[in-house]
């Protein structure tokens, strides 16, 4: 068991910077997940920790020992890979004991631990009692049901082993459910490192807000005016001075689907805005909830590329009665409305109250 510290880790390929100036401290026994879209550098970061790739710059410490230039075998880590769990040319015993035999354990000790492993765990990477586990999308190839089951299983395992675990996934649901802290990455840059709910409720910038949470947050482009936020389709009253923004600044407002209510249920919102008109476009009943896609007016064009301007996704109670084509009036919860700078994407405030 050990902490893992990355200081200024950079990995540059000929013309691409895969990881840029990564600084991160992972505490002893912590479960940290790197999450981000494909090609964001999360796997490369993992590989530099494992030693499979040498960073172009920066240092890596595991358990207070600098390991930047050590080969993988001397770093005291174990790693689980996405595709390959077993060596096809070996039998079960050889596979499980491979690492132990390489480390020249006594035969009896190997036998004992293989039996133990076969009894309890099913992963040979758990055998060496390493300082840290690295897991590179270990659940990516499992079917949906097993994936959910393994999520809980991994949390139990973490509790039992009490080991530092670094986990890489592009699935924000896995990141949310298992981690002590999530490290959100995009284009090689660390966006935010925080506990899951903090990433969800107080995203550091627009990227994190859009990436964490499913379905994703609604965004409205607009600008700050005297006494509030104004966009093409709706406006929200608030006091710009209280949040340190000046009128005229270009901003993007963000509201999660569950923080938008129909007017008749407006009292559920902690601080409802004034209602505005919308048209029901598509309804997706999920059983426990209903996702309703709204258009601000009937002229808004929808595209295949996702939710564009003028569209809004809201999350309703399953027994709410709406049908496609209905005219509805909805309110936002000001308390849960985020503002992001339109240029930099940085969060300005997480509540317009």
């Amino acid at each position: 068991m050990a902490s893992v510290t990355l200081s200024g880790v950079t990995k540059r390929y000929e013309d691409v910077t895969a990881v840029n100036e990564m600084n991160l401290e992972i505490d002893d026994g912590e479960f940290v997940t790197f999450v981000g879209p494909s090609g964001c550098g999360k796997s490369t970061t993992m590989e530099t920790i494992a030693g499979l790739t040498l960073p172009t710059g920066g240092t890596i410490e595991i358990g207070g020992r600098e390991v930047t230039d050590l080969p993988p075998k001397d770093r005291g880590i174990s790693m689980v890979f996405q595709n390959i769990a077993l060596f096809p040319h070996m039998d079960v015993y050889d596979n499980i004991s491979f690492g132990l035999r390489l480390r020249k354990y006594e035969q009896e000790e190997v036998d004992r631990r293989v039996d133990e492993a076969a009894d309890i765990v099913q992963l040979n990477e758990m055998m060496d009692q390493p300082d840290a586990f690295l897991m590179d999308e270990p659940l990516a190839n499992l079917d949906a049901e097993l994936k959910v089951h393994m999520r809980t299983q991994l949390q139990r395992l973490h509790r039992e082993l009490d080991t530092t675990i670094v986990y890489v996934t592009h699935d924000q649901a896995q990141a949310m459910t298992m981690s002590d802290r999530i490290a959100v990455m995009n284009r090689g840059v660390l966006q935010q490192v925080a506990p899951p709910l903090e990433c969800y409720n107080e995203p550091a910038n627009r990227f994190v807000a859009g990436f964490i949470g499913s379905p994703a947050m609604n965004f409205l482009k607009g600008e700050v005016v005297d006494g509030g936020f104004e966009s093409q389709y709706t406006d929200v009253d608030f006091d710009p001075a209280a949040h340190g923004v000046r009128p005229g600044r270009g901003v993007t407002a963000g509201v999660r689907p569950e923080d938008i209510y129909l007017e008749r249920a407006a009292e559920e919102a902690e601080s409802p805005t004034k209602p505005f008109d919308a048209v029901v476009d598509v309804i997706e009943p999920m059983g426990s909830e209903v996702f309703v896609y709204l258009l601000f007016d009937r002229d808004v064009e929808t595209s295949a590329e996702g939710r564009g301007e003028g569209q809004l996704l809201i999350n309703l109670d399953p027994d709410t009665e709406v049908t496609e084509g209905d005219d509805v009036r909805v309110v936002l919860d000001r308390e849960k409305t985020h503002l992001f700078d339109r240029e930099s994407g940085d969060a300005i405030t997480h509540s317009l109250e």
Partner: protein, 356 residues
């Protein structure tokens, strides 16, 4: 056969209207008056698999005969006593002794074959007594084995680098390896022969004469170098197909890169390794040019099996039966090797061929 098509054309031309002909064709044309071959051809047209099968058997038998007959002929000659060699036939290994029969009326005698001569399996013993032929075979076997091991080892390292690493200058370097394999080996011979004959003081403690001539190294070094490029290409193809994850897993579990190569990548590329190994072994074992010129031909001086066979050719007579027997004995190690490694070689050659 030339008149058949005419008869055939006649029979269809003066036949019934076309509808009826079509019906007949559907009934496999049983009523038409045809020879055996034409009937077979007609059936083959309606059912092409018959033709394919026949072609397959013809081709197979052709290849079997052309490849196996030389061995059979060697065997026949080896079993023939030396004095009967001139009367040996394909089916008469012992030769056919002839007796002169006086013809009546004219003053002449006709030489008539009378029975079969004795066959002589003793050649297979004689080759070891006349010459230490086993020593020649051992020399060849040892040289080929050492060369194979060396080629596989160096070829594995090079194949790993070319197949799995991406580095500047990879393609030019690969091209250079390819180019060296295009040089005719004879071009190397004179400089190498002079080099190996030169006394090198550094080698004096290792090799008594101080030169490589008359040592196994004189054959194994140039031949390894000549067959290395092919091995590198075969191994490169196979190693590049092993998923990165396997190597990464092995390295995280405690091997070095080289450890991962020999513990994981090489075992998983067994067909490729077997192919490269067998090709190298056979090539070195059978090699003529360097084998015959890099030693003085004495068995104690590491002369290979080829020299042994040639030794049965004396100044005044050629012991063809012993040469044949020694050739068969010399083929045995390679034959055994190929049978053992056959499955792996076949899959190896095809895999290498399909994937680029």
């Amino acid at each position: 056969m030339s008149d058949r098509p005419v008869a055939d054309g006649g029979s269809t031309a003066d036949g019934d209207p076309t509808v009826e002909m079509a019906e007949q064709a559907e009934r496999d044309e049983p009523d038409l008056d045809r020879g055996v071959f034409e009937a077979w051809a007609a059936k083959a047209i309606s059912n092409p698999n018959r033709a394919y099968r026949a072609t397959f058997y013809v081709a197979t038998i052709f290849f079997l005969v052309t490849t196996l007959f030389p061995f059979y002929w060697l065997f026949v000659i080896a079993m023939t006593p030396r004095n009967a060699l001139s009367t040996t036939g394909v089916l008469t290994p012992g030769g056919t002794p002839r007796a002169a029969v006086d013809l009546p009326l004219i003053d002449a005698a006709l030489s008539v074959p009378v029975g079969l001569g004795p066959i002589n399996p003793g050649s297979f013993v004689d080759i070891f007594q006349t010459l230490p032929f086993h020593r020649y075979v051992f020399n060849s076997f040892l040289i080929a084995t050492v060369a194979t091991v060396a080629v596989l080892f160096v070829g594995s390292l090079a194949g790993y680098v070319f197949g799995r690493l991406d580095f500047r200058g990879r393609n030019p370097l690969l091209l250079l390896v390819l180019v060296t394999s295009f040089f005719p080996p004879a071009a190397f011979f004179i400089p190498l022969n002079r080099l190996f004959n030169a006394n090198v003081d550094v080698l004096r403690p290792l090799i008594s004469a101080g030169s490589l001539y008359n040592t196994p190294y004189a054959i194994f070094i140039p031949l390894s170098a000549i067959f290395l490029p092919l091995a590198i290409f075969i191994l490169m193809t196979f190693y590049s197909q092993i998923p990165d994850g396997l190597e990464d897993a092995a390295r995280v579990e405690g091997t070095t890169r080289i450890g991962a190569l020999f513990r994981v990548i090489v075992p998983l590329s067994a067909p490729g390794v077997a192919t490269a190994g067998v090709l190298t072994f056979i090539s070195v074992y059978n090699e003529y040019f360097f084998s015959s010129l890099m030693t003085d031909g004495q068995p104690g001086n590491w002369a290979p099996m080829l020299e042994g066979t040639l030794r049965f050719q004396g100044e005044f007579e050629v012991l063809y039966n012993l040469m044949a027997a020694s050739s068969i004995v010399a083929v045995l190690p390679v034959a055994i090797l190929v049978v053992v490694a056959q499955e792996k070689i076949v899959s190896g050659l095809t895999t290498g061929a399909v994937k680029e």
